[in-house]
């Protein structure tokens, strides 16, 4: 479904991504792990056009999207839940959901109802401003907003960041549910153990490169992963 081949991203003189390659197949949850500054967010930003790749290819369903403008991605079927949630603070919950459906030409009233079933708390808060929600509620809204465009590929950037363990639990539960409905998920996470338990496969980034990749269950038991990302001594 998604294939990245030797993508290079430079910020001026600094190279953030040194030719990374990865693949996401239809129906999978694939996670991208790595320390702060390893290039995870840059990778995700590249996958939704926010960051141009100077070299390499990004193929989505066989089409090269490396030079596509960010505002055309939702129409392609790729939706991005950005790091830090980035809810529109002065818009109500409903208006934020409207924004998620911005590129749709058809009626999306049913989709809003679906989101309210999936995230009942958002229904209670529908008239409140996004900026007044709690962190967990904002994360749910950010995911719901991204789903409004009915993406085939959902990109999630650090959805557990800054949330209480119980909320993280339910967010991961929801990500699993989203996959069940047929949406492919590409998940960037610092919370490696949770992410690997949910994902089918994982990539591990170091210094702007893909260091290694494997099935998630293998990575969970991989001593390199356990040492660095799961906080265990090898």
């Amino acid at each position: 479904m998604l294939e990245v081949k030797n993508a290079v991203v430079r910020y001026g003189a600094i190279t953030a991504l040194h030719g990374i390659s990865l693949e996401v197949n239809k129906g999978e949850i694939v996670t991208l792990l790595g320390a702060n500054g390893a290039g995870k967010s840059t990778t995700l930003r590249m996958l939704s056009g926010l960051q141009a790749a100077q070299e390499g290819q990004i193929l989505f369903e066989g089409v090269d999207i490396a030079n596509t403008k960010p505002h055309n991605f939702t129409a392609l079927g790729i939706s991005h839940v950005p790091e830090g949630r980035r809810i529109f603070p002065q818009m109500t919950v409903e208006e934020n959901l409207d924004m998620g459906a911005y590129s749709r030409k058809d009626s999306y009233v049913d989709d809003i109802e679906k989101m309210f079933i999936m995230f009942p708390i958002l229904k209670d808060r529908r008239k409140q401003l996004g900026g007044n929600l709690s962190g967990g509620e904002q994360q749910m809204l950010a995911i719901a907003r991204a789903l409004m465009s009915r993406p085939r590929l959902l990109l999630l950037d650090e959805p557990s960041m800054g949330l209480a363990p119980m909320i993280i639990e339910s967010i991961f539960q929801i990500i699993g549910d989203i996959r069940e409905t047929g949406t492919t998920v590409f998940l960037v996470e610092q919370n490696a153990s949770q992410a690997l338990r949910l994902a089918d496969r994982g990539y591990v980034m170091e210094n702007g490169r893909i260091a290694f990749s494997d099935k998630a269950s293998n990575l969970l038991n991989d001593p390199r992963v356990r040492a660095v990302y799961l906080g265990e001594s090898a």
Partner: protein, 320 residues
């Protein structure tokens, strides 16, 4: 002490006599400031910059209305339905011309800087340059003397409020500006276009992730602000005529109004405009009329010193 009290007493007596007349006049100029202020505040919302060339958008709209009406009216004296029609045509001429020049301004003076991620000071210099260009172009093409506009209606006192006359001109301004302000308010708060403008103001990068074309949205913001600015120029010209430099003072006051209401805040711009218009109208009671502009800019300085976020604060912008 006694002298001072009788001074105040005399002036408050004058205020009582003049109150409604000054109030009506103040609302009339205030609503023009409000229309222009919306252009400043909306552009600030999406670009974080003060479009200092907006004064010339006002001027181009005034000239467009002037040429259109002088052509259509000639030496006739329109009344009734044709008056209304001519006013609408003048508003459209001013508004469309304002939109046109605002969009050209954005393309030529601002977009190239945005693509190059230029520092904010570059926008300011570019704005001043564009403003001088349009100002001097108008001076060269249209001359440096003021001209009266062909009147599309016969001005007369329509009714009185507590003895203060309300003239046809007041009613035209109030109705026309009121309708336009309501339409823009609805447009921004209820439509998809309005949501796209607000989303870019709040978080442009995330707006683009939602599918919002930022360049197009910024251009549309200039279209709306330019229309109001140009139409306001025409309404202003109905009263005082046209001159190449006519935009400077009202636009600076509209900028004051936008800051007073809270830059980036649409309704704040309207409230700021009305407060400023009424306040400066009442200054003639206490000082001479020559102090009107001084009072307006004293308000600007005081707001910037004591409450830089304005009365309503920044609403359509990012939260801190």
């Amino acid at each position: 002490m006694h002298g001072f009290l009788s001074y105040l007493n005399a002036h408050f007596h004058a205020l009582r006599l003049e109150f409604w007349g000054l109030f009506i006049g103040g609302i009339g100029s205030g609503i023009i400031y409000a229309m222009v202020a919306i252009g400043y505040t909306m552009v600030y919302g999406v670009l974080r910059l003060i479009n200092f060339a907006h004064s010339e958008i006002f001027m181009t709209g005034a000239f467009a209305g002037y040429f259109t009406l002088n052509y259509l009216i000639g030496s006739s004296s329109p009344t009734g339905f044709s008056s209304i029609l001519l006013i609408i045509v003048g508003i459209l001429a001013g508004g469309i011309t304002g939109s046109f020049f605002a969009v050209v301004l954005e393309r030529v003076a601002y977009r190239p800087l945005r693509i190059r991620k230029a520092p904010k000071i570059a926008y300011l210099i570019s704005a001043i340059g564009a403003s001088y260009f349009l100002l001097n172009l108008a001076a060269k093409e249209f001359g440096r003397i003021g001209r009266g506009i062909a009147q599309p209606y016969q001005n007369h006192t329509v009714f009185t409020i507590f003895g203060a006359p309300v003239e046809m001109y007041n009613i035209i301004i109030f109705v026309a500006a009121g309708i336009m302000l309501i339409i823009v308010d609805r447009l921004v708060s209820k439509t998809k276009l309005g949501r796209s403008i607000r989303s870019v103001a709040q978080d442009s990068e995330t707006a683009s992730l939602m599918g919002v074309d930022i360049d197009r949205t910024i251009a549309m913001t200039f279209v709306i602000g330019g229309f109001l600015g140009g139409a306001a120029g025409f309404l202003y010209a109905l009263n005082v005529g046209v001159l190449y430099s006519m935009g400077f003072t009202p636009a600076l006051k509209a900028f004051t109004a936008a800051v007073l209401g809270g830059i980036g805040n649409l309704r704040g711009a309207v409230i700021g405009g009305l407060i400023l218009g009424v306040t400066e109208s009442f200054t003639v009671v206490f000082f001479s009329g020559a102090y009107t502009d001084v009072v307006a800019f004293a308000i600007l300085v005081l707001v910037l010193m004591f409450r830089p976020t304005g009365i309503l604060g920044e609403l359509i912008g990012r939260s801190a």
